[in-house]
Symmetry: C2
Subunit: 280 residues, 2 copies
């Protein structure tokens, strides 16, 4: 495995290579990431894992500086998995002085996480565009935990005619249901216990739909009230929406996305679940 | 020569082809375009000329509907020149329902043409990104008549890491100095005569610099007053700026870009000239 930190160098390495898979990450790898890498290894001849904590997707006051990093451990894990390349540029390599270009997906970036994190998706679509142009992968792998990101990246790839196939990979959870996230390390013991409220409330919503409830707002309210009972939790949003366009729905009559962002103490966690009410 | 109107089809045609040059146009070709095509033919094995009147770069009330089109003539010209492909998609092929992604170069898009045409450059950078992803050219050719566009496209290519070389091609002028433009056809006989004021005023600015004038605002004022004497002309802007970042300058001590946009009757024309004061 090679670790490469320069754009020109990774381009040179990949020149003429076919069947390339890209797994874009911010590092501090957990089993969620590893399931993406696993899938990429199964489906491609060459696998590139990018590790880049992307400042453009953090707003002022967010945790860019404190975001957990452990390159040594990440490198060991990816070496063991027989990944071909880690692409690990520094901020100046990706955003040189005078940088001024942004890729934005309108409408889809507005609701859900877009409300409290207005620059977030613009930062993601910009860095993903850059990575696609640098690596020119045939396939790129994204976790479905960030479902809105997955929808937005798909829209972008379609709209801008990138020739890359986007693969969404299911959420990987801890034994108690907490979705894996690099930010889980911020949680102290009490918060770690409280954090299961995200998955539990999603399961509550799921059960309601399975029992025949079709009123989206009613489901949201029940989930919201359940989360409010958890002392350490503070809701950013809890929404039941159309998974294709992320628009609110009144009556559930097909697939729905239940998505939520909840602060546990100071740590903002997201989780989601897709339910097909017809199969319920 | 093949004329292709579908994205999938042109991709299939170009698959595996190397040394591809792209000349993006809105059609209604004039000698300015042909100088781009000529250069592309000299420098590439395969030349694609795109002909697409891009709605995203027209603001409401501008001339998208009336913009001159003559596909039959364009096709004849490009066949004679032995171009390999015309890529001529319709609007629905490029912007399907639900389209929502835009590429924007900040700051550089704000001054000059950006003031009166706020969506213009966003429309250009978006469609050029799409064309780069569809055609994946090695080189792309842009006329220096739209100097701000040239600067912005270069910034975008650099920032988003497109692997395409941008080639700027000098302005081609009519015998009396009017810069060639598809919009010149809007001019009636009197307006056509009046339109030479753009080139004449630029030459006046050039002469002042050559004579040692270094006060940018003074040069602008003299050019503005000269244009105002032309009854049919109405100034959008006349600016003497830094050609790299398009910022206004006070004192000329190096290369400058003199750029102007002037309405002649209803028709908005642009022109520019770069002067190296050190060579003056």
């Amino acid at each position: 495995m090679k670790v490469i930190d320069k754009i020109d160098k990774i381009r040179e390495e990949l020149d003429g290579k076919e069947n390339v898979g890209l797994v874009p990450t911010m590092g501090y790898l957990h089993n969620g990431h590893l399931s993406l890498v696993e899938k990429a290894l199964n489906e491609n001849e060459i696998v590139v894992v990018s590790i880049f904590v992307n400042p453009a997707q953090f707003s002022p006051g967010e945790d860019f500086e404190e975001y957990p990093r452990d390159m040594k451990r990440d490198k060991e894990i990816l070496t063991d998995m027989e990944v071909d390349y880690i692409f690990n540029p520094d901020v100046e390599e990706m955003y040189e002085e005078g940088y001024n270009t942004y890729v934005e997906v309108e409408e889809l970036s507005d609701p859900l996480c877009g409300v409290s994190r207005p620059c977030f998706f613009r930062g993601i679509t910009t860095v993903v565009s850059k990575l696609f142009n640098i690596i020119q992968p045939d396939r790129a792998y994204f976790g479905l935990k960030d479902y809105q990101q997955y929808v937005i990246v798909n829209r972008m790839v379609n709209d801008l005619n990138f020739s890359v196939e986007i693969k969404g990979v299911p959420i990987v959870r801890e034994e108690d249901g907490l979705a894996m996230s690099s930010r889980n390390r911020y949680l102290n013991k009490k918060e770690r216990e409280a954090a299961t409220i995200l998955y539990r409330s999603l399961n509550k919503g799921k059960k309601l739909i399975e029992q025949g409830e079709r009123d989206a707002e009613k489901i949201e309210d029940i989930m919201i009230n359940m989360i409010k009972e958890e002392e350490l939790a503070r809701i950013d949003y809890v929404k039941v929406v159309n998974p294709d366009n992320l628009q609110t729905i009144e009556t559930i009559n097909n697939k729905v996305l239940m998505a939520e962002a909840v602060f546990i103490g100071e740590t903002r966690l997201v989780d989601n679940m897709i339910i097909d009410s017809k199969k319920g």
